[in-house]
Symmetry: C2
Subunit: 437 residues, 2 copies
């Protein structure tokens, strides 16, 4: 494999042999875009090292900083007692759901699903706390106005803000969608650093102000390592509570198997996405079932399974961009709903779902201390357990290994953001999924 | 009121004193935009007359034209017997829902709600038939792909097409969202003609191929007169089955009253939007209730009710555009869901909802033979009846009259599309709601 060292050509930069990763990210994102665009190849590696005394990870707020409440919006500023009224007295206690990237397209679909009762049920009142940026605060107001105009009976509070320390207050669910998109010529390493900063900050904020049992679903890419950074910065919240979204991949994989087998998608079960939400992900056809039979018994075309299936799943986003001109916001939002529902409703007997979770005593021999997508089951209490009896063969194992290697490399690359000292970045050039620019 | 005659200055056009309205619309939409932009004022009137022998209304297909099925998509091309399987054997018979403008943003929200079971219930399998244009067919494929990837169990068929005679086949619901947006400088008269052509064609198609009891909800603007054109072109379908969407206006009106009264929006009931979905619409605070009391007993600020309330409802869309940078697709989709649900679930005792329906024996003294928004109740069978006991006062009556006059003028303007001969257009300049460009 050809390796191109990342050597900045600007004279002021060539004088340094190491770069702060925050400087690197600035460099990547602004000053020298054209240079990087020219140098980018499929085989490029970006190497950088950051020494521990140079680390500039986000600093947690001091505990004596006053924490304000986020701004309530319009009709949602009212206070009332749900238990005092006949229609609402049997409702559950309100839950607080914080959503970052709330002015974006995925959230625009997701928020209305959350508010309608579709996700948490018809007796679950909900408070939505929307996190945006200074640039998007007007748009957030627009979203809140549309939520008002929708008259959802279960939606009792909407607040908006740009400070995670305000917006994540008492959050029982944190759906972290917001992330910087990858700019032209930006490699995964640059994206990791830029977004890592965001998720480190948000982890600290969750640690400071969220419910002690908050469930966190990271959607913003690169979501596995963002989730790792987030949980490492939230030491008072169980690491088990952090998820990286691989549910859209699972759904797409089910659909592709159904198409190939000529059955409806509800006949496909036990679909695992292993590993990273990247092109190293492993949609697992060894353990998946179609109509209760092993996939290989139903789809005899091994060449298709081994060579085309994974690509079909992974290229789906890119094909959609081509056809539709925008990324798959609607189906991503549906998959977030699926991910939440899988945790709040019991998993059907014999089936499982995939989610990227913290590896801490897994039975598959996957490296510990990363966020890896694996097969899980839930009793519907918000918690989950790993599925123990899954098949492994050399082919599956070797592919899982590749995704594991990538996640370990990503982890080394963000060591300065996880409190593990010296960041060393040595990543394959580009494993972003198509359609996620 | 100042009246500016519409006098084209191009020499080739000044020779004519009458214009075909289809020519007018071409004229408005292409050749001479700058002229109209300059001339457009709030008080402008556009006058045109079309003699009956010049009428070029769409011609219905000959009955011997072969009618093809629209193209099914991907996994939805499968055939199966729902009754043969345990999980689905108790489901209702599948319903066919046709949606026009299916590649647009409102549909992008609505389709996923329809497919999820949120609208018609968890035992109602659904076939979605998506109508787009030649330009949007790729995007439609993208929508269908996202629907596939969402794995909705109830969604059993998705087909896409650009021919309403194919896509409306056996439709039990037709949600007509697609319409040409108003271009810069285009007046309501131009919009009426351009979109009227579309709805005349779609009415003919519904008449030819849809279920004999299809329910039609027109969302594309100007929706009242579009609905009138549509029903006039579908003489074999009960005129009562056609609706023009005024539900978003109703929802917004409820929200504004709630805000003013300092109560939650679920406390506002009996909200009527009278008339046209335009700035002549009448959000009725005389009959609406807050916590079961008349609005005037709760909100003592008569000046606000008479002078600000209606404007607040109507300007909502414009404010949203300013803040959010796009029109209110999400809340419009929610209001379409509300409109359908109001017809398929019994109306709560003592309450009602608003919908634009065909006037044919109404108790309010409103002119017959137009589509007018009025208070309705439903037994949940898809049908509705008008509410009889509503209060009227001179203020309300005079405002209703104004909207009625506008709709009668719009009707004269599209006479060539309703089969009533000579179109004479004499409309107030611009009564489009802000934010609906």
């Amino acid at each position: 494999m050809a390796v191109a060292q990342f050597i900045p050509s600007s004279s002021s930069l060539t004088k340094r042999t190491t770069l702060y990763s925050s400087q690197l990210s600035q460099y990547l994102s602004s000053t020298h875009k054209p240079l990087l665009t020219l140098r980018r190849t499929n085989y490029a590696k970006i190497c950088c090292s950051v020494t521990s005394n140079e680390v500039q990870a986000p600093v947690a707020r001091q505990s004596n900083d006053p924490i304000k409440k986020p701004e309530c919006f319009g009709v949602f500023c009212l206070t009332y007692d749900l238990k005092a009224e006949e229609e609402t007295s049997s409702w559950k206690k309100m839950i607080n759901v914080s959503v970052s990237g709330a002015a974006g397209m995925i959230a625009n679909h997701l928020l209305f699903k959350l508010a309608s009762g579709e996700v948490f049920g018809p007796d679950q009142p909900i408070a939505l706390k929307l996190l945006g940026s200074e640039r998007s605060i007007q748009a957030l107001e627009g979203v809140a106005m549309e939520l008002e105009d929708s008259l959802f009976p279960l939606l009792r509070e909407v607040s908006i803000g740009i400070d995670p320390y305000e917006v994540f207050q008492d959050a029982e669910w944190a759906l972290l969608i917001g992330a910087k998109p990858r700019g032209p010529g930006m490699e995964r390493a640059g994206l990791l650093d830029i977004n890592g900063q965001i998720f480190a900050e948000q982890g600290k904020a969750l640690n400071a102000v969220a419910s002690r049992n908050v469930k966190v679903i990271v959607v913003g890419n690169p979501c596995n390592t963002n989730a790792l950074i987030c949980l490492k910065n939230a030491p008072d919240i169980p690491a088990k509570n952090f998820h990286a979204l691989t549910r859209l991949d699972e759904n797409r994989a089910k659909c592709q198997l159904a198409l190939k087998a000529g059955v409806f998608y509800d006949k496909v079960s036990n679909m695992t996405i292993w590993g990273n939400h990247s092109t190293t992900q492993v949609p697992d056809f060894l353990n998946a079932n179609i109509n209760g039979f092993q996939v290989k018994e139903v789809i005899r075309d091994t060449k298709w399974l081994e060579e085309e299936f994974t690509e079909k799943v992974q290229k789906r986003g890119g094909v959609l961009i081509q056809k539709w001109g925008r990324s798959s916001a609607a189906s991503t939002a549906v998959s977030v709903v699926d991910a939440i529902r899988s945790l709040v409703t019991p998993t059907p007997e014999g089936d499982w779902f995939s989610t990227g979770v913290y590896t801490n005593g897994n039975p598959y021999g996957i490296a510990e201390d990363i966020v890896f997508s694996m097969p899980c089951r839930s009793k519907g209490d918000g918690d989950y357990e790993l599925v123990k009896d899954v098949l492994m063969d050399d082919y599956l194992q070797s592919r899982i290994k590749k995704s594991e290697d990538e996640l370990l490399a990503e982890k080394r690359c963000v060591a300065h953001l996880t409190g593990e000292g010296i960041a060393v970045c040595d990543l394959p050039g580009d494993t972003m999924l198509p359609g996620e620019m």
